[in-house]
Amino acid sequence: MAEVSAQLDFDDFYAANYARLTLQLYAYLGDQHEAQDLVQEAFCRAYSQWRTVGDYEEPLAWVRRVAWNLATSRFRRQRTARNFLRKQREEHIEGPSPDRVALTRALAQIPEHHRRAVVLYYLGQLSVAEIALQEGVAEGTVKSWLSRGRTALGVELTGERGRSDA
């Protein structure tokens, strides 16, 4: 009986959070399928120890941290290969909308830490304290990342860099 209710809890938890987490990783990585795979993997790890994770005060924070850690290591490992492949092949698939492309392209231009902070703050709606906890850094560091990331992203999105360079 306890097993059944634990499984139901996990189903609800998964349904409530899967899309939200995937969106965050999608914005961070710029690759939707990769984001879906990583979030699914994070949920697999949560499920394999759900009796412990499910009892945490905030199981979502645990899954989010696992998903972001997976994304960071995957991002670092595959960055070089992905850039190379992107340059080599022509893709003929129906692309995402210009808005989505504009944001992911702008995010790709800003440093990794700043990007993580910006995505977690604006998309994940985490507070500075929560981001600091997840990243294992001081709140001041997060504020600095956010400030720089916000400026860099704002400049990219408004096209001010092109104007100031000209």
Binding site: Y14, P96, D99, L103, A106, T151, L157
Partner: protein
């Protein structure tokens, strides 16, 4: 003043969410359960093989 970009950034993330949300397809908890079960079985098989190997090596060493 980086705060001046807040509206632009919130707007961009809002559009992104609206546009991308409908394209995200969850594999579902059935897939999660299947994967976890498969991993557990694989781990158990690996442990059993190691135990068998240790036993075989032990028997051979003692017998030899």
């Amino acid at each position: 003043m980086p705060e001046q970009y807040d509206d632009v950034i919130f707007g961009a993330f809002g559009d992104f969410t609206e546009d991308a949300e409908s394209t995200i397809t969850a594999a579902g908890t059935g897939d999660v359960r299947k994967k976890v079960r498969r991993r557990r079985i694989r781990a158990m098989v690996a442990i059993a093989l190691v135990v068998m190997l240790v036993v075989v090596v032990g028997v051979v060493l003692i017998g030899g």
